[in-house]
Each structure stands twice: as structure tokens, then as C-alpha cells.
């Protein structure tokens, strides 16, 4: 009876880098271990501008949540939330409306355990360990249902996570399953690693190779591919764009490298 059932979390192996902890390290956090830092640094060596890319991605989260708040959304489902760190969704949201409801979902048991200890005293925020590729078990979770009112609009956030879902896992179907459960007026916010065909530099390709091998396989998608993933949604201006171009706080935030930024962002509304 040595077999472990699939639904019991695997051994928590600190020797194996985790997507969430590597990301935390790049953001300047210390929620990480030597193995995470080693691969994070090796990837950075190949692609020194990666730190800025990561920071930009993080600022997108802030911009998107703030915009959603302006659009009146008060419920957030953050898929692939990672290690809770400065500028988390609930912090951004609660600055505007302390009653805003937030659910963090990640498959990393350590990230979620940390989240639970941080969020223990907050009534409208929960963290759930689950595989985001299983919408039914996420949306069916009793804790999730106790926080989110699915009769009201919900913003589903897939920030820097869809590029971990290969086509074989049917990302389109996963997105559709989430949105089918939500009322019209709900949103899907996405940031996704990618670029146009042949655009990827050797450095970026090498960084992606190192990361894919040692942390998690990652897929680049083109803008067109991302548009098709979001088919059926009304895209909020400016549509699917390079990440820095998505509603920048200030023109100063957009420099000449923005057009070659290795990732896209988009916000779509369920009609």
C-alpha cells in the first residue's frame, strides 16, 4: 500500500525550485530557499533584464486590479497567486473597498500555507490549494463559495500563469469553464509570456530553457494565440497589448523597450 493517492499533496521538497518562490525572489522577497535562488540567479544570468520584466508584470497586477475596482468589480479570483507579498490583490482592493472579496488559488502547498497564516484574520479573503486546471473543484470548493457570490460579477485573474498551461491541457476549455460559472459583467485578466514569431532573442530563449527545465515548462504564445484564447470576451481597451502598454500609470513608465516586452496583457469582459 505504498502508493500515494493522487489527491494527497506530494512531499514538500525544498531541493526542488517552486514557481512561486522563484518569482518571490525575483520580486526581492525572502520567501525562498537556496534551490529557488540558485535557479532564479541562473535564469537572471542568461537574461539580466528579467528582473525588470518581473517587476513590470507585478505592476500590471496592480494596474489591472485598480482598473477593475474602478469598473465596480468587488470580487477577485486570483489563479496562480503565488507567495503573498507586497502589493497583493486584497491589499490593493481593500485600499479602495475594505469589503472586497478575494480568493487566492495556487497549487503550491507552501505558498498557500503561508497565505493562510497571513490571511487568517481577514474575513473576506481565503487561500485555496488547488490545480487551476480543474475549474470544477476550484469553483465547487465550499470555502470559495463562502467568499465569492457567483450571482455577482467576479474578476478572474490569470497573471503569469496561463503560460504554464500547454495546449494539451486545453487552456481554452479551462477558461470557458471558469467563465461559464460566472454572471455577465465578470472579467478575465491575463498576463502571458510571449511575443511574435521569431522575435525571441537567444538570451530570452536560454532563460526560458533554464527555467522550463528546472522550475516548470513554460509556453510562449503570440498575440494572435492569446486573442483566440480570449475569444468570446469583450476586450477592455487597449485590448491584447505588450504588457507595459496596458493602461500605464504614467507615460514615463513606457520606454522604447516596451514594444519588445516579452509578454502580453489583456482584460476581457464576459458579455
Amino acid at each position: 500500500m505504498a502508493e500515494r493517492p493522487k489527491w494527497v499533496p506530494g512531499d514538500i521538497d525544498l531541493e526542488r525550485p517552486s514557481v512561486a518562490r522563484v518569482y518571490d525572489y525575483w520580486l526581492g522577497g525572502a520567501h525562498n530557499f537556496a534551490a529557488d535562488r540558485a535557479v532564479a540567479n541562473r535564469t537572471l544570468e542568461a537574461m539580466p533584464e528579467l528582473r525588470r520584466v518581473i517587476l513590470t508584470n507585478r505592476t500590471l497586477l496592480r494596474r489591472m486590479v485598480r482598473h477593475l475596482l474602478r469598473l465596480g468589480v468587488r470580487q477577485f479570483l486570483d489563479l496562480g497567486s503565488g507567495i503573498p507579498t507586497a502589493g497583493n490583490v486584497h491589499e490593493i482592493a481593500h485600499a479602495v473597498d475594505p469589503t472586497a472579496r478575494v480568493v487566492y488559488v495556487d497549487m503550491d502547498p507552501v505558498a498557500i500555507a503561508h497565505g493562510k497564516s497571513l490571511l487568517a484574520d481577514l474575513p473576506n479573503v481565503v487561500a485555496l490549494q488547488a490545480d487551476i486546471r480543474d475549474p470544477a473543484s476550484v469553483l465547487g470548493d465550499p470555502e470559495v463559495r463562502s467568499v465569492l457570490d457567483l450571482d455577482q460579477p467576479v474578476a478572474v485573474l490569470m497573471i503569469a500563469v496561463l503560460h504554464f498551461v500547454p495546449d494539451a491541457d486545453h487552456p481554452c476549455g479551462i477558461i470557458a469553464d471558469y467563465l461559464d460559472a460566472l454572471v455577465p459583467g465578470s472579467y478575465l485578466g491575463v498576463s502571458h509570456s510571449g511575443g511574435e514569431q521569431g522575435e525571441e532573442s537567444a538570451a530570452v530563449a536560454e532563460a526560458r530553457r533554464r527555467y522550463s527545465e528546472q522550475v516548470a515548462p513554460m509556453v510562449h504564445r503570440t498575440r494572435a494565440e492569446l486573442i483566440s484564447l480570449l475569444g468570446g470576451l469583450e476586450l477592455v481597451e487597449p485590448g491584447v497589448v505588450r504588457l507595459p502598454h496596458w493602461r500605464p500609470d504614467s507615460p514615463d513608465d513606457v520606454d522604447e523597450s516596451a514594444d519588445r516586452f516579452p509578454g502580453f496583457a489583456a482584460l476581457g469582459r464576459k458579455p
Binding site: M1, P9, N32, G87, I112, H114, S117
Partner: protein
Amino acid sequence: MVAGAEAFARTWATAVIGSSYVPMTRAEVAEHLQSLTEVLVEALIADPFRTAPGYDIGARLVEAHFTGTDTLGRTVQLLGDDLLTELGIGVDGRMESRLSALQGALAAGYARALRERTLAEQEAIRAAVLDARDQAETALRASEARFRAMFTEAAIGIGIADIEGRILDVNQALQDMLGFSVEEMRQYNIRDLMHPEDSGNVWRLYDQLIAGDCDHYRAEKRFHRADGEQVWTHLTLSLVRDDHGEPQYQVAMIEDVTDRHLLQNRLRYQALHDPLTGLPNRALFLERLGRVFNAVGGTTSRRAGLCYLDLDGFKVINDSLGHDIGDQLLVEVGRRLDHSVSGDGKLVARMGGDEFVILVEGSASTQDIVNVADRVLHELEAPIKIGGHELTVSASIGIVERPLEGTTAADLMRDADITLYWAKADGKSRWALYNPERNAREVARFTLSATMPAALERDEFYVDYQPLVRLADSRVTGVEALVRWQHPEFGRLAPDRFIELAEETGLIVPLGRWVLRKACEEARRWLEEFGDSAPFVSVNLAVRQSRDPELVRDVKRILDECALPPHHLQLELTESAIMGTADEPLEALRALSDMGVRIAIDDFGTGYSNLAYLKHLPVHELKIAGSFMEGLRAADEEDAVDAQIVSTLVQLAHALGLGVTAEGVETPSQAKRLHRIGCDTGQGWFFARPGRPEDIDHLLRGGL
């Protein structure tokens, strides 16, 4: 507000943005840094001078998540390069010293705060790891507990063995099922659980499974229990493979189906046994009989026998004493049969009602079965006491015994059944042995009986006539009509071959009518040709005919149609036909007699005539049976008794005013004696044999 502080804050923001992640917009960063700049400026010019605000600013940078160390480097550099200039503060030794002190304090405060933050975050992430591990452990323990509970509490027996067949674990249900503890079970190898009744399939599939050629199979299997009993099970054996796909364990799921099995057995028993006597029933008997014929080795040189038994007069017991008594009687008979016929290869079954059958397989000879039948009849001789009644029963048994070769189960059954009826017909309380010749006769009889109606239509019957001669002058006064059957297969048949059959089947009525018509037509012809010297015709009337309500009308119509005066017709009936009847036939005879038809009693003296009654009957003639003529046959020696009887009968007839005809007259001396006795008419070979109508013509023309 110190002039220039705002400008410095903007420069500061530009320098540090991108060096750390802070959850703020560019404007918010500038705003935040401006407030820090103001604190810095105040500290720079404060009196007395303190470095604490510098320390505090370092901490607040970390707090705002300016955790990238580049932020500190750029900040310290910017403070040194630009601050005093931007603020328009004169660069003197005191200020430079203060600024350096503040830069140092800021760096120290930043380092201290970052260190604190890093330690706290490391602490937090390690705590999270522990939490997550705890949770995983808990989940795993819960999962294992659930699986353990499932294994332990399962109502189905579960056992796990390694690939060599060593039993590793068994759950409670399996321990209970087999009566062994888990420790005892661990002593066993799977192959020790082999049961002699296992089908070869079970272990062939087991070998395939162990070899990894199949992943699971189901089978019916029996196990020995610790207490020596047996348990019937449904077994499902599954193979568990390791990560490389190699066979690792085998898991058996075993369901106890003993109750179901026993129920099936009981249902099968019930379906194959008679509930009243507990004996095998017809279905089981036929199955067993079929198996005798299908047995391995074929039918060569093997024999078998059947006794088909039926109680005599059982219906009377049932009807008079009730079904309860009847049932108890059957139970006792069944018990006695079972008792008297025990042993291998013998089977007693109740076929239904009061019919039983005994099968003897592998008999050596017919005598074996006869012995069985004798024993059974003997066993049934002792009276049976039921509810105060002492019942004596007997049985009739049909026996068939023969080699299996050349016969079938159906043949045996049919022949035994036929033979049972022979035993009944032969007088009951006995056995009869099947006899192919007798059967052939019966079959022939049956064939005759079955073909008779068609024969009548095809005119296969014809009528012969035997003269009735007046003894006084040897004149032919009448002729007796005697029916014959010219059978296409069997040739000419005398009445004794078919009249009885016709009586049984009822065909005697149309046949008799046909003979009557033939005879009347002939009589009419004679009347026309010979006038007053034409003979009357004497036609036999069977018992069944005499009771036919249409008799009088038929006779009248035929006489009318033939235009034959009634006194030219005589009807012959046997004593029993006349005496043993109720009123109605007598009425008919009276009507016929009144019509003018003569009535004769045939074979007089052989039945039991009520002599007192005789004088009231509408009878004209007595025909004395030929058997009495025996004693009058020889010329020299006369049987005094016979002579006396004939003489007395003649006197009696005359006393009643009846004519007398003697049948079976074969010799001149008989004729002479009868004449002397006073008998009126004679019939027999001495005068003439039965012959065609033309022969009678000849006689009438020329005389005897």
C-alpha cells in the same frame, strides 16, 4: 517646506524606480520619497543634530518594499552627490559631516530593517513549509486511515500477497470467512488454498496473472475453512504492478456466496424432488435416465431396467378416505419403495399421482429387475396404518430390462408404461414383463382398430350366411349373418379378430347397421326369389348396439327401405346384453318385438340368465351355446349331464313358448339326438358352413 526638496524627491524617484518592486505608481513613489526627503532635510539642519531620522528613513524604505539593494546604493550616492546642491545648502565641513552621518545611519537602518524583514520572511516561509507538511501529513494520515478502514471494515474479504504467493495481509472479513487469523494466514502461500474442486481455469489464470499476462480475473472458487467446512466464493484477483510495470502484489477480493450457493442447491433440489414424498421427481428421473444413455463409454454391452409402478385402486382410497389419507399413503409407499430399492445405480422417483418408477442402472439380466419388482410387491403387502385406517394396497408393475444398445430413454419409458397396463389388464397386483411379441399384437390390434372406419367406407367388410335348419324336415328356415373383413394386409379376418375392437371404439354401431342393411337386402332378394320358402335373416346385435337409442328407428328404416316384412328379421343378443340392462334397451326390444321382429338370445346357457325374468322378456328364440353339443357329439358315448342340460333347456324354452336353436351341430348323431330331445332348429357344420349368399341360393334351390 525647504525649497528644492520636491525636485530632489523627483530625482530620487527616477533613480530608484525599477531597482525594487514597490506596489506604488511612479507618482506615489515620488510622493513617498518627498516625505522622506523632508525628514532628511529637517534632520540635516536640526539642532542638536541626531542621526536617528536617517536610520528611520532606511527602515521606511524597506517597509515600502524598496528591498532591492540597488535602491540603497543609488540613494546613498544621490544623497552625497545631489542633496546639498539641490537644497541650496552651503557645502561646508559641518554639513558634509552631518550628511555622511545621516547617510551612514540610513544605510544602517536600511540594512537592519532588510535583515529583519529577510529573517521574518525566511521564518514565515519555513513556518509555511511546516504547515504545508503538517497538512500533507494529516491528509495522508486521513487517507491512509480511510484506506485502512476500508480494508479493515470491508464486508468483502480482501487479501494481499506478494508475487511469490506469500500472504501479506488479510482483512477481518476474510479472516472470519475462512476462520484463520491473520497470523495463521501469513503462514500460507496462495497455492495452499487450492481446493480439489477448483476448476483448472482458476489456477491457469492465476499463473497468467502472476506472470503479468493478465491484470485481473474472476472465478468461482471453494475454500476450506479452518473448521473443515467449505465456503463457496466469488473471487476477483487483481495484479498490482510497480512503477516499472513489473508485477508486485496480488490483491484478492473474495465474496462469500455460500448462502446463495446453498439456496441454489436447495432450489435445484426442490425443482428435482417431489415435495410430498421427498423422492426424485419426473424431471430428475428423466435427467438421470438421459445420463445413463449419455454416460462415457457409450452404450456398448451395458444394460438398464425400469419398473413402472402404479398403485391398484388408489383413486378409490382418495375418493373415499380423502386426499389427506391418500397423500399419507403415498408417503408411506414412497418410503417403502425407497427402503426396498437402495444402492448404487438405483433410483426411485415419483412420476406424479400414484405412479412411481424405479431405475436400475447396470443390471446384469432381466432377473435383476424382476427381483426388484418382487421385493417391492412383497414390501407393499404389509397393511399400512394411517389415521386409524388399516389400508391394504397393491401395485401393478411394468418391467423393461434390456441392453442400452439399440434402444433409447424414450423407448424404455414407453415400453415400461405399456407393460404397466398389461400388468393392470392381467389382473393387477403383479408385475408384467415387456414382451415384444405381445407388443406387436397390441400394435396390430391398434392398427386394426385405427383402420376399421376407413375399411368400412372402402367396403372391405362383407357378410357370410350360415343356414338355420328345421330339424323336423331339414328345411332351411333362416340364415345367420356373419360379418367378415377382407383386410388388404392381414387377409380374411373372422369376427373374433375385430368385433371386440369395434365394440371398444364404438365403430360397432355403424358396422352393425351396415351388416343389418346387407342382411336385409339379401333377405329381400330371397323373398323375391323364393317367396314363402325364403329364409329369415338372423343378425347379431352387439351390447353397444342394443343400447343405441337410434336402434329402433334404424331397424325400422332399413326394413322399410328394403321392403322386408319384419318377421323376416331376427336379432340375436347375448344373455348379458338382455339381462344386464336397464329398462331402456328392453323398451327398444319390446318395440322391435311389437313391430314383428324376432328376438333371439344367443349363446344361451353360458351367462347367468334370470330364468324368472325370462318369461317377461320379448324373446322368441333361445340359441343354445355350441359348448353343450360336446357331450352329444359321439354316436356311442353320450355325456349324460350335457344331454340332460340340453333337454332341460329345450323343455324350459317350450314351456315359455319359445323356439330353440342348437348351435355348433357338427355330427349326424348330434342332429339326431337334438331332434329326439325336441329341439326345433339346428345350426352348424353338419348342416352347412357359413357361405356366400349364392351358396344359400343353391341350398334353397336344391336342398341339403
